[in-house]
């Protein structure tokens, strides 16, 4: 077989998910869905300010629809796996393979701190999610846990300072992760426009900030004693 034919065959053998562009698209789509969850989850949590009945009622409502709940959970799990799988594959390529010899000097010109730290913020957020599930879903996080009483669990959990601190830190990292991810995903999916892209970038930062503020307001309120 000629070298040309080999090259053609090699290219043809690359499927969508084998390519970097395909993996970035997978990452973008899974990211959008996870972002939707983050947004909904925050909206649900903020009901804490309306008192225990409201929040516990909301939790009960979710559990009353096991099919929907498990559908959502499995979808989210799948998205998390896809998001991690594609990012790990790309990270291995980018960090280990694509540039075997690094520079003696290297200076970034444009990449933001958030963009450059995606590989750090991502895994830390994953650790957080696992602990978050342990604490409030499975009740094995080491903080007081009462089945069905979300409100009490939250208040008791966040009264523990290290837990709150870890939560706050994780939320800030999540905000950073989103501030890059939310605008980057548009380009990964093929959208960039001189008029709208700057707007999208600003919106991404604004939305990420809202999410950070919304989420960290809860442990702060608990620690400050506003929510008891």
């Amino acid at each position: 077989m000629s070298t040309t034919a080999v090259a053609v065959a090699n290219r043809k053998s690359l499927r969508f998910y084998d390519t970097t562009v395909g993996k970035k698209a997978v990452m973008a789509v899974s990211g959008i869905i996870l972002f939707g969850f983050v947004l909904a989850h925050m909206a649900g949590n903020l009901q804490i300010y309306e008192g225990p009945e409201k929040l516990n009622g909301y939790a009960k409502l979710l559990r009353a629809m096991p099919a929907a709940l498990w559908g959502a959970r499995l979808t989210l799990l799948l998205m998390v796996l896809l998001h991690i799988w594609s990012s790990v594959k790309l990270a291995l390529l980018n960090k280990l393979e694509a540039r075997p010899t690094g520079y003696v000097r290297h200076k970034n010109q444009s990449a933001s701190y958030a963009a450059r730290t995606m590989y750090w913020s991502g895994p830390i957020i994953l650790c957080f999610v696992i602990y978050h599930l342990m604490e409030f879903t499975w009740g094995v996080g080491g903080t007081p846990y009462l089945e069905g009483n979300v409100y009490a669990n939250v208040v008791a959990g966040f009264k523990v300072l290290p837990v709150s601190a870890f939560y706050i830190l994780s939320m800030i990292l999540l905000g950073m992760h989103l501030s890059h991810g939310l605008s980057s995903l548009f380009r990964s999916l093929g959208f960039d426009h001189p008029r709208y892209t700057p707007v999208i970038k600003r919106l991404a930062v604004a939305i990420s900030t809202i999410i950070v503020i919304g989420n960290i307001s809860i442990p702060i309120s608990v620690l400050a004693g506003w929510v008891k």
Partner: protein, 637 residues
């Protein structure tokens, strides 16, 4: 050997059609049995290799750069001419032909030039179809501008990067054939000798510039599209790597070298700023469309240009040539710049510069329009000089830019060695003694896309080259020749760098065989060149190894050839006792300082035959006949 240009007779409009009809064809099934070597991947080489590949020949393409896309055609800024007459301003194939013959000062072959004008139309179509992003009007049609002294708007352009875009078009077509397996690409290879077997070109010896290995390649025909030799002057607008080695070594194997003294000085380059300078940068001559050229009226006027009032400025081109003004042909514009500088009215450091002032145009059209037209040129100027052309006039000075001379070829672009074809700037054919702006790109693509693919087939069908292989003694002989040159250069171990010799040689040639020449200086220059050449072979220092990537060694071989070529240039300039186009002999001028041609004695192509090292070249003449454009004194007044 009698020089037969093989121009077909008959009405000029139908000569190319007739020639094409009379050419022999290679059966499609037989094409793949023929290997063709194409050296050089500029507009001519890349378009030829791609087109030959498309036809089904096996093509081997060579370039010394790391990629075919880097060939120096890429640096052409202004545009490409074509007789499309889209602007409806009276252009036609005949008018382009007429302008080109006249612009070349009646030293080009009519048949070739007519064919060039004829092909120009197809070139634009081809390039548009390839995706060359030519400038367009709001309605979506192609945009044209007037360029370099033409009185019709026939120049197509892609911002200030026309050469780049056309070359990328040809390069992409070439890569398509590489992908298809029709063309095998050999980058970072320098052709160091031509292999001639039984009187026909049958192969080349190349040096792999990464490993230093000498490699042999056999073929049924060899095509050289290796560009011009402007770097003989050291300082030129050519790329640093541009060289004459391929054509010179082919010349030493028997290809005649035509009109070596016809070199073109481009009027609008950024002036030299110091001794360290390694090359000159051209500013597209399209700037002359909107720019006005002037110097102070009084010598030694040191005021800032903005401070010099209108009445103290001398718009010398507008004064002297009212009908063409700033758009006179390149040779005329260059010579006049030299004239005013010789009078002590030059501007900038060293007094070697004139102003190119766009402030009128900025006032008339607004800064935005000017930015759209010349933005990238202005940026480049500012980057190099630190001056902002929107605020202060640019300084320009002429520089060597193009060489009209080159290997002699017949109408079929074949040299005096059967099977050796020469295309683009490497041949001598279409521009006579002076090339018009936006014609070089046209010629390169005309040769590569629309002439060579036919004429190579014609040659193969008739010559029916016998099988040859690498075991032929001619290959060993050529390799031994190359090896001995390399070994000699490496073994001198003198004290001066190759560049220092090149710089000195360039100055000799520029001072004596540059913008104006005279017999006395030319004779002296020949002596100086010989002396320097002798020193070169005793005192040059080439470090590193021959079997490794070695840029000094690459340069050393090229400069060795420049030495030999520069002597021939002076010899040719000395022999041509007339002024024509870029060749201005001070002894032959009209009372008001214009070039005076001598059609009775010099209406010929001077083709020089190499007769061995040390032996004088033999001159052969190809008489030029003008049936359609009658020689007249060019007048741009």
């Amino acid at each position: 050997m009698a020089l037969d240009a093989k121009s077909p007779g008959g009405p000029i409009e139908s000569r190319w059609d007739r020639a094409r009809f009379e050419m022999k064809l290679v059966n499609p099934a037989n094409k793949r049995k023929h290997t063709i070597i194409v050296v050089g991947t500029g507009l001519a080489g890349a378009s030829a290799a791609a087109s030959l590949g498309e036809l089904g020949y096996k093509v081997k393409s060579f370039c010394f750069q790391d990629s075919p896309r880097r060939a120096h055609s890429i640096a052409a800024q202004g545009g490409i001419n074509a007789a499309k007459n889209y602007p409806n301003d009276g252009d036609s194939v005949f008018r382009l032909f007429y302008d080109t013959v006249k612009g070349g000062d009646f030293r080009a072959r009519e048949s070739n030039v007519y064919r060039l004008a004829h092909n120009s139309v197809s070139i634009i179509d081809q390039c548009v179809a390839q995706g060359v992003p030519f400038a367009r009007e709001y309605g979506g049609t192609l945009s044209n501008r007037s360029f370099g002294g033409a009185q019709v708007s026939r120049t197509f352009y892609a911002r200030g990067q026309t050469g780049q875009q056309l070359l990328l078009g040809a390069y992409q077509a070439l890569e398509r054939q590489v992908e298809a397996g029709q063309v095998e690409m050999f980058p970072r290879r320098e052709m160091l000798d031509l292999v001639v077997i039984d009187g026909a070109a049958r192969g080349i010896v190349t040096r792999n510039l990464v490993t230093g290995q000498l490699e042999h390649h056999v073929a049924d025909a060899v095509v050289l599209g290796t560009g011009g030799y402007g770097n003989v002057y050291y300082l030129s607008t050519n790329a640093k790597g541009s060289n004459c080695t391929a054509i010179w070594r082919a010349h030493k194997r028997g290809a005649y070298f035509a009109n070596p003294c016809f070199t073109q000085i481009h009027p609008t380059c950024i002036p030299v700023s110091g001794d360290y300078q390694s090359k000159l940068t051209l500013m597209s001559e399209s700037l002359r469309n909107d720019g006005r050229i002037w110097v102070p009226k009084t010598p030694g006027d040191k005021r800032r240009p903005e401070a010099i009032p209108e009445q103290d400025r001398d718009y010398y081109l507008e004064q002297k040539y009212p009908s063409f003004g700033n758009l006179v042909p390149r040779d005329v514009a260059s010579r006049n710049a030299k004239l005013v500088c010789d009078q002590g009215r030059g501007v900038g450091p060293g007094g070697l510069g004139v102003y190119l002032d766009l402030s009128d145009a900025i006032r008339r059209l607004g800064e935005d329009k000017i930015r759209e037209r010349y933005g990238n040129l202005f940026e480049m100027y500012e980057r190099i000089t630190g001056d902002d052309p929107y605020k202060t006039p640019m300084r320009i000075y002429p520089a060597i830019h193009y060489t009209m001379g080159g290997l002699w070829v017949d109408y079929y672009l074949m040299s005096t060695i059967p099977g050796l074809f020469v295309i683009g700037e490497a041949n001598f054919s279409d521009h006579g003694a002076n090339r018009l702006g936006a014609s070089a790109l046209m010629q390169g693509l005309s040769d590569g896309y629309f002439i060579l693919p036919y004429t190579v087939g014609n040659y193969l069908a008739q010559a029916k080259p016998a099988p040859a292989d690498l075991s032929h003694p001619a290959f060993h002989e050529a390799e031994a020749n190359v090896r001995s040159i390399t070994e000699r250069l490496m073994s001198i171990e003198g004290s001066r760098s190759v560049d220092s010799f090149h710089r000195e040689l360039g100055k000799i040639v520029w001072d004596n065989c540059g913008m104006s020449r005279n017999a006395h200086d030319l004779e002296r220059a020949i002596g100086k060149i010989r002396e320097l050449r002798q020193e070169y072979w005793q005192n040059v220092r080439v470090l590193g190894a021959a079997d490794d990537l070695n840029q000094s060694l690459e340069k050393a071989g090229r400069v060795a050839d420049f030495f030999e070529l520069s002597e021939l240039m002076c010899r040719d300039a000395l022999e041509r006792n007339e002024s024509c186009g870029g060749h201005f002999r001070e002894e032959y001028q009209t009372p008001d300082g214009e070039a005076r041609r001598n059609d009775d004695e010099f209406s010929y192509v001077a083709a020089w035959q190499y007769q061995g090292d040390g032996a004088p070249h033999a001159l052969h003449k190809e008489p030029l006949e003008f049936e359609y454009v009658h020689p007249s004194q060019r007048s741009y007044k």
